[in-house]
Amino acid sequence: MNEILEGVIKAFQLIFSGDPRVFEVTLRALLISGIATVIAIFIGVPIAMFIALKNFPGKVLAKGFFNTFIGVPTVGLGLILFIIFSRAGPLGFFGLLYTPTAIILGEAILIIPIVVSLTTTAIEAVDPDIMNQAKTLGASESQASITVLQEALSGIFLAGIASFNRAIAELGVAQMVGGNIEHWTDVLTTTIALETQKGNFALSIALAIILITIVFAITITVNIFQRRRK
């Protein structure tokens, strides 16, 4: 019990003394998950627009596919990506394994289903006649689609936030394709796992506090933002 208490006290000391390791790992985690989220939005939103706005055979199947992959186990995905990125794998040539890029791509793949799913729902919630309304005011097909997207913006924003939270909090992908190399691919989750294993509970607790704070702060901000809009 004492050790836990001691760990927590030391953890706060680390956070508030601006410990460089804590700072570095936090920054890297934010950066990697941030870029992953941006990529996932740029790829996921057009997919969602296609699914939501077009009628095509297999539409239900496509939706089901992305819904299912929201819950993909991160370790499973990590393993598949490990095999793909490995020098012996199909994308080995790029030498991406054990680089931050590998984590970015892995996390992007992990969260694209979340972006697609939530954005599809958001776009479908927009009145389908908005498209026609925009057109009669002079919009071209693509301008009208953008208008629909703007109407769904708060939903897409939410999708982005949910994705970012998932990305920054996941361990499997970052561990398996990043390798948790100090000063290179160590992010919050992998460092927490490693430092706990090494017995450095204070650092682990400090990083865990930061991780939880980030996730909570974002969620709460979004909630307030959403309520204001209504």
Binding site: N132, Q133, T136, L137, G138, A139, Q150, E151
Partner: protein, 353 residues
């Protein structure tokens, strides 16, 4: 007379349903043309095809003597605009809603600001620029939607039931605006309506639509003069009834419309007539009236439709009457299906056609 738009052999089918059946129609420059017909007769489809946001299954559309094709459709669409029956505003400010079409047309901001101030004055919403559009009342929203179309200053303006979901006050504001822009800006207007009163007073010409076909086109005088012969097909038009009229001792007219329902009107008339009462002119109450209204009936609610800010009721008093009340009074009265209610309207509100 210059023709601004023309439909040739336009047919539109949705799966097995034929919404429009071989329509030929010319719209003259500068006129107000009313499409008069019951709900589901194809008015909305016709307007959407004219607005170039729905493609006909068959047939051709000409705008300013140019045939509309897949190639020029986005360009031609700029020449006309449609105000939907159901108001669909964007979740942003009034300003951004109204500026939408001008921004697409790449109008400079200073000009947009000026035009918006002008159009807001026209629809009597001065100073509303920064308000959130979706937080406005139903009538105000409808006027924003109208302003959004008016600001484009298209030669051809299409209006789908512009007053259908409004209370009488907002409805008359909009009718005035329609008349004003037609008179002052020479805008050609095609409007769908199932309001006989509106059809009789606003337009230059009326096109009667039933079951996806245009049965007759002509001036209101001509159409209403011979309405009796087509009235059978108009049974579905709200609050329109055929009956026999007699002039009473005190100079009013009593029309027997069957099922022992008699309607008193101030206009004098005799013989076989049709009468129409605007839904907005009918008052609903849960208690018997003690008022000067000459027409008072007891009935039961048989249908309730929520139209946003107003609620449309169908009430069976022997004949079915359609009534529109605000949502607030609907809630206050605690109305339900099968509730017993009383209707009343003035003799002067009864139109004899």
């Amino acid at each position: 007379m210059t023709v601004i738009a023309e439909l040739k052999g336009v047919t539109k089918t949705f799966d097995a349903i034929t919404a429009l059946d071989d329509i030929d129609l010319r719209i003259h420059k500068g006129e107000i043309l009313a499409l008069l017909g019951p709900n589901g007769s194809g008015k909305t489809t016709l307007l959407r095809i004219l607005a170039l946001i729905q493609k006909p299954t068959k047939g051709e559309i000409y705008l300013n003597n140019v045939k509309v094709t897949d190639k020029n459709i986005e360009q031609k669409r700029l020449e006309t605009t449609l105000v939907f029956q159901r108001t669909l505003l964007l979740s942003t400010t009034v300003y951004n809603n109204i500026a939408y079409g001008l921004k697409i047309r790449k109008t400079p901001k200073t000009k947009i600001d000026k035009e918006i101030a002008k159009v807001l004055k026209l629809v009597r919403l001065e100073g509303f620029e920064k308000r959130q559009a979706k937080k406005l009342s139903g009538g105000e929203q409808q006027r924003v939607a109208l302003a959004r179309a008016l600001i484009l200053n298209t030669e051809l303006l299409l209006l789908d039931e512009p007053t259908a979901n409004l209370d009488p006050k907002n409805a008359s504001v909009i009718e005035e605006i329609i008349a004003t822009i037609n008179r002052e800006f020479k805008t050609t207007i095609v409007m769908a309506t199932h309001n006989m009163f509106q059809a009789k007073n606003l337009p230059d010409r009326i096109a009667l639509i039933t079951d996806g076909k245009i049965s007759e086109v002509g001036t209101p005088t001509k159409i209403f003069g011979s309405l009796s012969k087509t009235l059978a097909s108009f049974a579905a038009v709200e609050n329109t009834f055929a009956g026999t009229a007699d002039i009473t001792e005190n100079g009013t007219t009593l029309v027997d419309i069957g099922n022992s329902v008699q309607i008193e009107a101030t206009v004098q008339s005799n013989g076989k007539v049709a009468v129409f009462i605007s839904p907005e002119d009918i008052i609903v109450s849960r208690r018997r009236f003690e008022s000067s209204a000459r027409n008072a009936f007891k009935g039961r609610i048989v249908e309730i439709s929520d139209l946003g800010s107003v609620v449309r009721l169908r009430i069976d008093v022997g004949k079915i009457f359609t009534v529109q009340i605000t949502k607030r009074s609907f809630n206050e009265m605690g109305l339900n299906l099968d509730t017993e209610v009383f209707l009343a309207f003035k003799a002067s509100s009864v139109q004899i056609i």
